[in-house]
Amino acid sequence: MAKLKIESMEQPNRIINYWKKEKFVVACIVIFGLAYNIATVLGPIYQGKLIDSIVRGDSLSSEVILAFTFIALIGAIQLMRYFKRFYIRRFANSTSATMRLMIYNHIMHETTPELDNESTGNLMTRAISDVDLCVEGMRKFSTEIFDTGVVMTSYLITMLVYDTKITILASLFIPVAMVLAEKLKNIIYKYSAAFRTQSSHIANTTYDAIENAMFYRANGVETQNRAKYNDDLEDLQNKAIRANILETSMEPIYNVIAMLGIIMVIYLGGTKVINGGWTIGNFSTYIIMFAAMASRASKAARLFNSVQKSQVSWQRIKPYLTDYQRKDTMVNIDLNNTRLSVKNLSFCYPTGKENIIENISFTGKQGEIIGVTGSIASGKSTLGLSLLGLYPYLGSIKIDDKELRDFTEYERSQMISYLSHKPQLLSDTIYNNITMGNEQDITTVLRDVCFETDLAAMPDGINTMVGNSGIRLSGGQQARIALARTLLNKSKIIILDDPFAAVDMKTEEQIIENVKNNYKNSLIILISHRLTIFSRISQIILLYNDKTAVYGTHNELMNSAELYAEIFNLQCTAGDNNDGQ
């Protein structure tokens, strides 16, 4: 294999740049394409010469020499053809890879509010099928420049050399076929669009009938829905027939039209042979070239269609093809002496209208654990999320006396680790899920999250594949792997949003104890609705539904906050109320 590299490119939103980027490959395509397509007329010419040699009754040796020349020529021509075909495909292959990379890079570097507005399904279609369609069109376009343009020109010139009059008369019908194909293109497009619309309608109806089968069955309307499905299918059938008949059945007709000139070729060419102007070999050569040209012309319709299709796709992916982006990885932070000070923090999602949290103020420093709790929808998770600086916020969040929004995104990610209540695992090994590319030892961190016993039961150890979204692990294992990832770099601030929902109480207590002892350089913010462990942490923020908040230690809140005390006592009597294993 040649050197393979998939690289970023500049100005990916101009389609011409994809050809410019692949200079070597494109040069090969041009050279081999021109050479093959021009030399290709030699095939019919030599085939005619072979026939003439029989007519002349040449000696066996010269016959054999001619035959070998013919084979060698075809061999050389086909070798060039092979290179042309291969390089055109390689061009398509690397263009597709580059486009995919650029789109991926664009998606990954969109801001969080921008990403919230994107639909996953749409992005997937763009990154996959639109790229395919677009590249397919680019490939066909490159191929046809040679296979239609150059080949037809060289056939035409050769034929003109053989006989000007016959060529002009016979070729009159070829443009007719091409024009007809071009004209019919619009009608075909209309019909096939109607077919595709109905087809996706049927797909949706089918999906609906299956997805909601129990709903329809419980309401006894399945029979009546089926009658409608039957009508829809009938409609689809008619549309499919109309679209397909025009698209596939017309090609033989174009061919017949383009071939009309064969009458001239046989009559005038035959007469020319009889009059001694041509040899029989010339006649045979000419017929082969003419038929090849006519068949090219009748296939032109297909080319029109595929280029049109790819244009639509190109328009769709174009907005995603922007210049390559890289995060600035310059870091200017003090890894020690962490101080966090939050003043009058208010936060509202870009899509929402009202503040979820209002006027939150607290301070913390390394070695502390700050607990955040509150009833459902009191804004616990939002408080955790707002401390990441992914969204704009009101008020002030200062880390070591510098405003959070003044740090770069990269600096923030190096200072703050965050664990959301979804474990967000990748279908990779346990090791890779924890280190995410930062090669280092994970023994300690696995011990901190009490994973050693689990690990011992896994034959592949830390190289165990976790499956899609961690499906091969239990809920508690997923949560602890995600926690290990969060703890790994001992960041200045570690935010844990309800990480123990699927972990049993004893393990939870053990993990908290480990974190307390082994992460003394970090400030930990623990969001939870389970208050049992809160008795052992430094300070607590209790959020109310009316957006007020109370601050204090466990003992202070037990005395001053009625709600807190009541919940704490209820949870003690209700026992283990988690939903995990």
Partner: protein, 582 residues
């Protein structure tokens, strides 16, 4: 080939019902095969009778006739394509229709073990594959076989020796073709797996985008994306190699064959003993031999691939069905008087798979117009219980009866008259507002719809819409979340069923809408037997009985007052709930 083949049945049906089209197909196939053999023969005639002797006798008519034959080939070809399209589409439709009929009778368990996307692909991709199996596969193969036979026979008529050579050539070309096709298929399958990995990486990145951003792992993710792209690139390169090299090799072989024929027919050797016209015609015929052989290999491959689709469709067709319902059961017979309806669970046990009971020995007797709430953690089988009540699932042991009649026996068409089912999501069907309520059931009158709408208090709002009840519901913005929930209730009560089943209906509502929904239900509770499911203990409407489910069994049951006194777990959770803690 298979026990109960839907595909075979559908194809036979379509072929039987469209005799006219079948005849056209046979004509077209014969026409294509025969006419395509004629041009080389005419060429031979022209060379041997006009060009070699130098006579222009009938040359113009021959030229015209030649064109005439080409015209016939074109027409037959066009006809063949058209007829195949029509037949293929009819078969597709027939199969889909039969599958839909099957879907109505399939055992409800099927849906819990199969993902919707998976089933849909049987209706779409697999059926399409069967269509192309018929058109491109079987029929295409027949045509190509005939073409090959025709060519061999034509050549044999010129010279037996050349005919023999052609026969020897056939397996050689075929095996080269198959070798390449197999290698390509292997590389393609390999590639498909890698493409799936690339795609999966994209969807995974999008799913975990927050985590990636928070940890600044964009470049790490891009790195592993590039690795996957590179793997994909390499296999595509392999496919490309075979793809690019195959056709040049075939053309080279053709050149060799042509050269051999010419040398063999040279004056000195003259082994074949054929005229110049025959040489030219043989070259033409042999050139035409390559395409059908190439197609044959592709068709075989298509058939192999489509066969797995056919198996999936047939497997679907052979899925177990629900037991036949007792069609003599009607609403009036089952519930003669709604005030005297008694619903009872008699030792109901249910399992989806052997050994994993979702529900065990549930026995509850309901008094007429009782109001019962089932509570318990998610995953204790509450929703399964409702499916059992409506007779959609069959209990593994025990039974559920209404006035002594087993609910599983009740035909689906009668169910809506007996049960009104509301769950937390409102499923919008394509159609008007009125149709959202009637579900396009023509036996439901306009008056019934208006009454139902009035009952849930949506009359004014719907009246304010552009076309009132006949407004098309295109998107989700027409009704708010709460209004949709009220519509769901209207849909359930429109047939005035004696039993209402409410599945977590207030789960997604804000407190104001919740109040409205509850007041509507309170109104309904006087004339209905109501069963509700809730993950919350304090049901919105006052229940007569609360049944606490745990691990598939009834842990405790009784009036709310009684449970508050006797069940400690119930008591503390009621308190936590009051504080909206969890």
């Amino acid at each position: 080939m298979m026990g109960n083949s839907l595909v075979k049945k559908a194809i036979t049906n379509v072929v039987k019902q469209n005799i006219g089209i079948d005849v056209l197909l046979v004509v077209a196939i014969c026409g294509v095969v025969i006419t395509s053999l004629v041009p080389p023969q005419m060429l031979r005639y022209i060379i041997d009778h006009n060009l070699v002797p130098g006579s222009s006798d009938k040359l113009l008519s021959l030229a015209l006739a030649y064109m005439g034959v080409l015209l016939f080939i074109g027409v037959f070809d066009c006809m063949k394509e058209a007829v195949l399209t029509v037949l293929g589409q009819k078969i597709t439709r027939e199969i889909r229709l039969d599958m839909m009929a099957k879907l109505a009778n399939i055992n409800a368990l099927f849906f819990s073990t199969n993902e919707s996307g998976n089933i849909v692909s049987r209706f779409t991709n697999d059926v399409d594959a069967i269509n192309s199996l018929f058109t491109n596969g079987i029929v295409g193969m027949m045509i190509d076989c005939f073409k090959i036979i025709g060519i061999v026979v034509s050549i044999w008529m010129f010279s037996a020796t050349l005919g023999m050579i052609t026969l020897i050539l056939l397996p050689i070309i075929y095996s080269i073709t198959r070798l390449f096709q197999k290698k390509m298929l292997k590389a393609q399958i390999e590639n498909r797996i890698l493409v799936a990995r690339v795609n999966n990486h994209i969807s995974e990145s999008l799913k975990n985008i927050q985590m990636i951003k928070v940890y600044s792992k964009e470049s790490y993710m891009e790195q592993s994306y590039t690795e996957r792209l590179l793997d994909n690139y390499q296999t595509v390169e392999k496919v490309n190699f075979y793809d690019s090299v195959f056709s040049p090799i075939i053309l080279l072989i053709r050149a060799v064959v042509i050269a051999v024929i010419v040398v063999l027919s040279s004056k000195q050797l003259n082994i074949l003993g054929i005229s110049l016209g025959m040489v030219a015609a043989s070259i033409d015929l042999i050139s035409n031999l390559f395409t059908p052989i190439e197609n044959l290999g592709m068709e075989l491959q298509n058939i192999q691939q489509a066969v797995s689709g056919m198996h999936r469709v047939n497997d679907f067709y052979n899925e177990p069905e629900d037991d036949v319902k007792n069609s003599s059961l009607h609403m009036d017979g089952i519930v003669p008087k709604r005030e005297e309806l008694s619903l009872s669970f008699n030792d109901v046990t249910f399992q989806y798979e052997q050994g994993t009971e979702v529900l065990q020995d549930i026995s509850v007797q309901l008094n007429p117009q009782d109001n019962v709430t089932f509570v318990g953690r998610t995953g204790v089988g509450k929703s399964t219980l409702f499916k059992l009540v409506m007779g959609l699932l069959k209990p593994t042991k025990g039974s559920i009866t209404i006035n002594g009649i087993d609910v599983y026996q009740i035909p689906n068409l009668e169910k809506r008259k007996i049960f009104g089912y509301v769950d937390q999501s409102f499923h919008t069907i394509p159609g008007t507002v009125a149709e959202q309520i009637s579900l396009q059931d023509t036996s439901i009158t306009r008056e019934q719809i208006e009454n139902a709408l009035d009952f849930v208090g949506l009359t004014d709002y719907v009246g304010s819409l552009e076309n009132g009840l006949d407004t098309q519901v295109h998107n989700d913005t027409l009704f708010s979340q709460g209004q949709r929930q009220l519509l769901a209730i209207a849909r359930a009560i429109v047939t005035n069923p004696p039993i209402l089943l409410l599945d977590e209906i207030t789960a997604n509502l804000d407190s104001i809408t919740e109040e409205k929904v509850v007041s509507v239900l309170q109104k309904a509770s006087n004339a209905h037997t109501i069963l509700s499911i809730s993950h919350r203990l304090s049901s919105m409407i006052a229940s007569d009985t609360v049944v606490i489910l745990e691990n598939g069994r009834v842990k405790n049951a009784g009036s709310p007052e009684m449970l508050l006194q006797k069940d400690e777990w119930y008591r503390s959770h009621i308190a936590l709930e009051r504080l909206t803690w969890s």
